[in-house]
């Protein structure tokens, strides 16, 4: 994570040290189930590094005591109408007669299943 590679490009951030190594890129690609070409490894390492360097900017701000914001709309109250919130609907099963349509678009269907390669071992 701390290889001291520098930018070889004439980039405004050229003086910075790399935040992200080739190994980091490989690890993230593995987590994300993405097969990358050699050229993509090269480009993404460089680009992700410049983006991550940029977002370090957030550390200029003191956020002690600030509640993280995950949603902008309040949850609301299911028993009150038009509160501006987002009440949950009743948990009732409704018919959904689209199995045929869904399977028709699957790469390898075997009704009513999707077929995949063997998963006994990785």
């Amino acid at each position: 994570m701390s290889a001291r590679t520098t930018f070889h490009e004439n980039h405004p951030l050229a003086a910075c040290t790399m935040k992200i190594t080739r190994e980091d890129v490989a690890r993230v690609a593995e987590l994300a189930h993405l097969e990358l070409s050699e050229a993509e490894f090269e480009t993404f390492s460089r680009q992700l590094d410049s983006i991550l360097t940029y977002v370090e900017k957030l550390n200029e701000l003191n956020t002690d005591g600030v509640e993280p914001m995950a949603q902008v709309v309040p949850p609301g109250d299911a028993n009150k109408e038009q509160t501006g919130g987002t009440p949950l609907r009743e948990d009732v099963v409704e018919p959904c007669a689209v199995i045929g349509d869904v399977l028709a678009g699957a790469p390898d269907p075997e009704a009513p299943y999707f077929r995949v390669p063997k998963v006994i071992e990785r």
Partner: protein, 487 residues
């Protein structure tokens, strides 16, 4: 009678003139559909605004309407409205690709709620519009099916990600279009193509059937040739939908009825933070002239500060990519879309995703996965969520001093195709004025605000408080009527 063309590519059809022409039998819905499908056939090879044209669906709707007209029925509000739909919105039986190879042949089994409501109100779906792959981009150059050209200047980008929807409306290939806006994807292409584009409040319009990019930010909204038509569309698509647990249970006003309410005395907040470094002087000049016009309309300018603006791009790209990395995990070659075979299940996931996604989508999945991964979550994702709260606070404070906030939509004018593709960070930085409102959840509209000396359109952005669409539509409408297009 056919639709009259006044300036070579546009026309004067509006929601109300179409309804009236149909009701008085000056034109049939089928004739109208034919006219627009012909225009698409003629112009699309050049513009690449549509990825799929859906004549069967448009004609089926037209014939239903013509039957109702013959029976003397009163027509629904959007009867015969030629509509284009961004290709990230599900349309039952009509190919929906998200401009990605991974969904090249995907046909949804259901309609998005917004699409369903518009069709129920009488709109005719002409087809699905090009965009950046999975709505990730600001130039439409990230489409797997080639870029869209800006009808205003063909060597330039139409903006993005909803570039195809904006171009279709600007070129007169549709009267209105649906787009989606996660960090500016309706407002910025609206500005670039010289038409109004509205991002409603988060929760105002159901996201059911919107193929997710970043769930806490994604919104659906209209492009139109004038503000009134945008209000017409919003009136139909707004409102609670039990199928989207984040759609708000809030009163939906009649946006059209209130459009002409007076804007006199409205306090216009002008944040100095939106007029600093990086703003093209030609854009700045037009936006200042636009604010001058608002003052002439009786609005009162209030200069204010929104001090966290400069942190919005970093915050946005951490949150949006984190959510995207999770949302896009579903494309694995199992249930729909592309499958690239491999001996193992994991191998199949990898090769399918490696081949199916384009460079920008992979880049964002990588960034988001990194920001969420063990050891980095607090430093990146959690930090960004806290700064998001500070940005939302900026808006709350601003709305204590002003009724609306007025800014440039984009710091730049439409740039040339290919000009910026090599530097993703520079591209992200150009989202500075739109991502703020995305993070805060407030509504925003971009309205045409003059043209530069190069004849390129400039957009004026108006933010309102949550669920304040009526107010920003009123102001946008007054601005447009007072000659905002020519400031």
């Amino acid at each position: 009678m056919t639709a009259t063309t006044h300036n070579g590519h546009g026309d004067n059809w509006t929601v109300s003139s179409i309804r009236e022409a149909l009701q008085t039998k000056r034109i049939s819905a089928r004739e109208l559909a034919t006219e627009f499908l012909k225009r698409i056939e003629k112009r699309n090879p050049e513009l690449n605004a549509f990825l799929t044209v859906s004549p069967e669906r448009a004609y089926a709707q037209a014939d239903r309407l013509d039957t109702r007209i013959a029976a003397g029925e009163v027509l629904p509000d959007l009867a015969g409205l030629p509509l284009a739909v961004k290709d990230v919105l599900s349309t039952r039986g009509v190919r929906t690709t998200c401009a990605s190879r991974i969904l090249e042949n995907y046909k949804p089994a259901y309609d998005a709620t917004a699409v369903e409501r518009l069709e129920y109100a009488g709109a005719m779906i002409l087809g699905k519009t090009n965009c950046d792959e999975f709505a990730m981009g600001g130039s439409n150059e990230n489409s797997a099916y080639g870029p869209v050209r800006n009808p205003v200047a063909l060597d330039r980008v139409p903006g993005g990600s909803s570039g195809g929807s904006a171009a279709a409306v600007a070129a007169g290939l549709a009267v209105v279009a649906l787009g989606t806006d996660t960090g500016g994807s309706i407002r910025q292409p609206g500005a670039f193509c010289g038409i109004p584009g509205l991002m409603p409040t988060y929760g105002r319009v159901s996201r059911y059937g919107l193929i997710a990019f970043a769930s806490s930010l994604d919104r659906i909204g209209p492009f139109a040739r004038n503000v009134e038509d945008a209000a017409e569309v919003l009136s139909v698509i707004a409102g609670r939908d039990p199928k989207d647990s984040t759609s708000a249970d809030a009163h939906v006003p009649d946006y059209v009825k209130h459009l002409k309410d007076s804007v006199k005395g409205l306090r216009i907040g002008v944040p100095t933070d939106y007029f600093g470094q990086g703003l093209d002087p030609a854009v700045k000049q037009k936006v200042e002239a636009g604010i001058g016009l608002l003052e002439k309309l009786g609005c009162r300018r209030v200069d204010l500060r929104m001090p966290h603006t400069d942190y919005a791009v970093g915050t946005y790209y951490l949150i949006a990519t984190a959510e995207a990395s999770s949302n896009l995990a579903r494309y694995d070659g199992v249930r729909y879309g592309l499958r690239v075979p491999s001996g193992t299940l994991i191998g199949m996931y990898r090769s399918t995703r490696g081949k199916g996604f384009g460079a920008e989508v992979k880049r964002r999945i990588m960034l988001g996965t990194y920001a969420l991964s063990a050891g980095y979550y607090d430093a990146y994702y959690l930090k960004a969520q806290k700064v998001r709260a500070l940005i939302a606070r900026d808006f709350a404070h601003a709305f204590e001093q002003a009724d609306v906030i007025v800014t440039p939509t984009s710091p730049v004018v439409p740039f040339r195709l290919g000009e910026r593709v090599a530097d993703p960070l520079a591209m992200y930085l150009a989202d500075i004025y739109t991502v703020t409102g995305s993070l805060a959840g407030v509504p925003g509209i971009s309205v045409p605000c003059g043209k530069t000396h190069e004849n390129l359109p400039v957009g004026l952005q108006i933010f309102g408080p949550a669920f304040g669409e009526a107010r920003i539509l009123q102001l946008a409408h007054a601005f447009e009527q007072a000659g905002g297009r020519q400031v």
